[in-house]
């Protein structure tokens, strides 16, 4: 990726390479420690800390006990809830955001000038900042401890709408005219022309929606405290007690909740950053 024209002189390059590797490994250290603690027997987790030794970072015995214990407890349901909420948000959110973005980018209707800025300004309010007053509304509607309440905030995502609108604006209008001549309606144009051409933007928008839900903590804590609807991010905070002796399952839970988004983001990282940078910087 780098476009540096002149190579470094060799020693400087080697130093830079070593320094980068060192820093990256420091950043990974907490995650590595989570992984080995999740996989080693409970008694081993704190055993090699004083004094430090090679066994601090390299487990000699491996066990799946903590995962088994986790799987038998209520955390299985929590991670299922997290997945369900994220998956439904992804599907519904992509539909709601893309069809709104289509209307804003493609359809010429009176009032378009006003609708867009209203949406921009509203979505500039970060969701977490108004989560507490929103709870009052959801209580009034009697929607506490429901999947609806968990999923709803993730569906209308301003960033996803702006991103898709931006992308749709870049699709040549000739295609639109041709489709109209062929007698395609607005929904047909959206479904058969715009969506298939927008896969990269849809992936980015999907990541934004997914990450929002997978990370959510405050809203699920407020709106769905019941065990049946508890999501992983809330469940792990409640199962941990830093002075408890049973740390293994907590690390196992942390590993489960981290690996899923890490895999997704590693695969699509470039897509995600490029899109957020464009919308955030130029929107």
């Amino acid at each position: 990726m780098s476009r540096r024209a002149r190579p470094f002189n060799a020693p400087a390059r080697r130093w830079r390479s070593a320094l980068t590797a060192f820093i990256a490994l420091i950043f990974m250290l907490p995650l590595w420690w989570v992984a080995i603690s999740a996989l080693r027997p409970e008694a081993e987790i704190f055993r090699y800390l004083s004094p430090l030794s090679w066994q601090t970072l390299l487990p000699t015995q491996l066990t799946a006990d903590h995962f088994v214990q986790l799987w038998q407890g209520s955390f299985r349901l929590a991670i299922f809830n997290s997945m369900l909420v994220a998956a439904v948000t992804l599907v519904l959110g992509l539909f709601v955001c893309s069809i709104a973005a289509f209307a804003l980018a493609v359809i010429d209707f009176p009032g378009r000038r006003f609708v867009f800025p209203i949406m921009v300004v509203s979505f500039l309010i970060p969701f977490d900042a108004i989560a507490v007053p929103l709870l009052g509304i959801v209580r009034r509607m009697d929607l506490q401890n429901t999947y609806i309440a968990l999923i709803l905030p993730g569906i209308g995502n301003g960033l996803a709408v702006f991103l898709l609108r931006q992308f749709f604006l870049g699709i040549p209008k000739d295609l639109l005219e041709a489709a109209r001549v062929d007698g395609l309606g607005w929904f047909g144009i959206y479904r058969q022309i715009y969506l298939p051409l927008s896969v990269p933007a849809l992936i980015s928008a999907g990541l934004i929606l997914f990450v929002f839900q997978w990370q959510a903590y405050l809203w699920p804590l407020l709106v769905a405290p019941a065990t049946e609807y508890k999501v992983g991010a809330v469940a792990i905070a409640q199962m941990s007690d830093p002075y408890l002796t049973n740390n293994g399952p907590v690390f196992a839970a942390a590993l489960c909740l981290s690996l899923i988004p890490m895999l997704v983001l590693t695969i699509f990282q470039r897509n995600y950053i490029a899109s957020v940078a464009t919308t955030g910087g130029k929107g």
């Binding site: 990726m1 780098s2 540096r4 390059r13 830079r16 320094l19 980068t20 590797a21 990256a24 490994l25 950043f27 990974m28 907490p30 995650l31 704190f46 800390l49 004083s50 430090l52 601090t56 709601v96 955001c97 069809i99 709104a100 289509f102 209307a103 010429d108 209707f109 009176p110 009032g111 378009r112 979505f123 500039l124 970060p126 977490d128 900042a129 108004i130 507490v132 007053p133 009052g136 509304i137 905030p153 209308g156 607005w186 959206y190 903590y217 405050l218 991010a233 809330v234 792990i236 905070a237 941990s240 002075y243 907590v250 942390a254 890490m262 997704v264 983001l265 990282q269 940078a277 910087g281």
Partner: protein, 286 residues
């Protein structure tokens, strides 16, 4: 005629998103303003809740802690992110892997990171083990009013720095190599090239990162709730935790609403300034 017919279609297409905007943004924001203007048991609007808040030492302390935190953490994270971006903006073996590793902590839910760091900061935890082996001695970290906020800052920086780095790296890679080359030919030192070529061209990504990071830092909640509950002695009681405590532990929703209005207004102001800064920089560049 067609435009009129288009309006109906557009309203149907926009319907769900507009409903989301109204239900999830406008209504709660309006409700917060309404509640903030009604003192407990009052029937007429007044600024009583705001007067009460600004006379409450707990709230003032929380404001002070939040501002201290934001003023320290933002420059720190942006500088660290820029340094990292400059470091990894080169080609050497495995650089892509190192970038990904530095970026990854942001993928982890904040509550998970908080739980992990809580164990890390334990008296018998790994961080103290390292300090002891270096001969520095055990530190209290989260249990000390002097160290808790700094411990929090270290943790959120581990989460965020790599994320912001990737935006700045994208900005660095947009700088035309020919400009840096020309400066080099003219005899500019590395520092001069950075100061007079790189930095001015990084204004846009830097502004974006600074503002987005400020907003994110005002909203930090999970780490506080999980690690310290605002303590010890209010030293980590950031504004989101203060609002949460007021609304749910102290049973004072009116002043929580007033605090919410203050927070949202502050954030909107910051974002508006961003738009203004980016617009003026775009004009001066074109």
């Amino acid at each position: 005629m067609t435009r009129r017919r288009n309006l109906a279609v557009a309203l149907v297409f926009l319907g769900p998103a507009l409903a989301a905007v109204v239900l999830l943004r406008m209504w709660p924001a309006g409700l917060a303003i309404h509640d903030s203007l009604l003192a407990p048991r009052a029937t007429t609007y007044s600024l009583e809740n705001y007067r009460y808040l600004f006379a409450d030492p707990l709230f003032l302390k929380s404001l002070r802690v939040t501002l201290t935190y934001v003023v320290i953490v933002n420059p720190l994270q942006v500088a660290a992110a820029l340094a990292l971006a400059l470091l990894v903006n080169a080609s050497f073996p495995l650089v892509g892997l190192w970038r990904t590793l530095i970026f990854l902590p942001v993928a982890i839910p904040q509550s998970v990171s908080a739980v992990v760091w809580a164990v890390g900061y334990r008296p018998d935890g790994p961080l103290n083990a390292v300090l002891v082996s270096l001969g520095i001695g055990q530190q209290p970290f989260l249990t000390s009013p002097d160290q808790a906020l700094a411990s929090l800052i270290l943790m959120v920086s581990w989460i965020g720095v790599g994320y912001w780095m990737t935006f700045l790296l994208a900005g660095l890679q947009d700088i035309p190599q020919s400009l840096l080359e020309a400066a080099r030919v003219d005899g500019a030192t590395a520092w001069q090239r950075f100061r007079y070529v790189t930095l001015p061209l990084m204004r846009r990504p830097l502004t974006f990162v600074l503002v987005a990071n400020t907003v994110a830092n005002f909203l930090v909640f999970a780490p506080v709730k999980i690690l310290t509950q605002g303590g010890p002695r209010g030293s980590t009681n950031l504004i989101m935790n203060e609002i949460y405590t007021r609304a749910f532990s102290a049973g004072d929703p009116s002043s929580a609403a007033a605090a919410t209005v203050i927070l949202v207004t502050t954030l909107l102001l910051i974002v508006t300034i961003q738009f203004w800064l980016l617009r003026s920089s775009a004009e001066s560049q074109s």
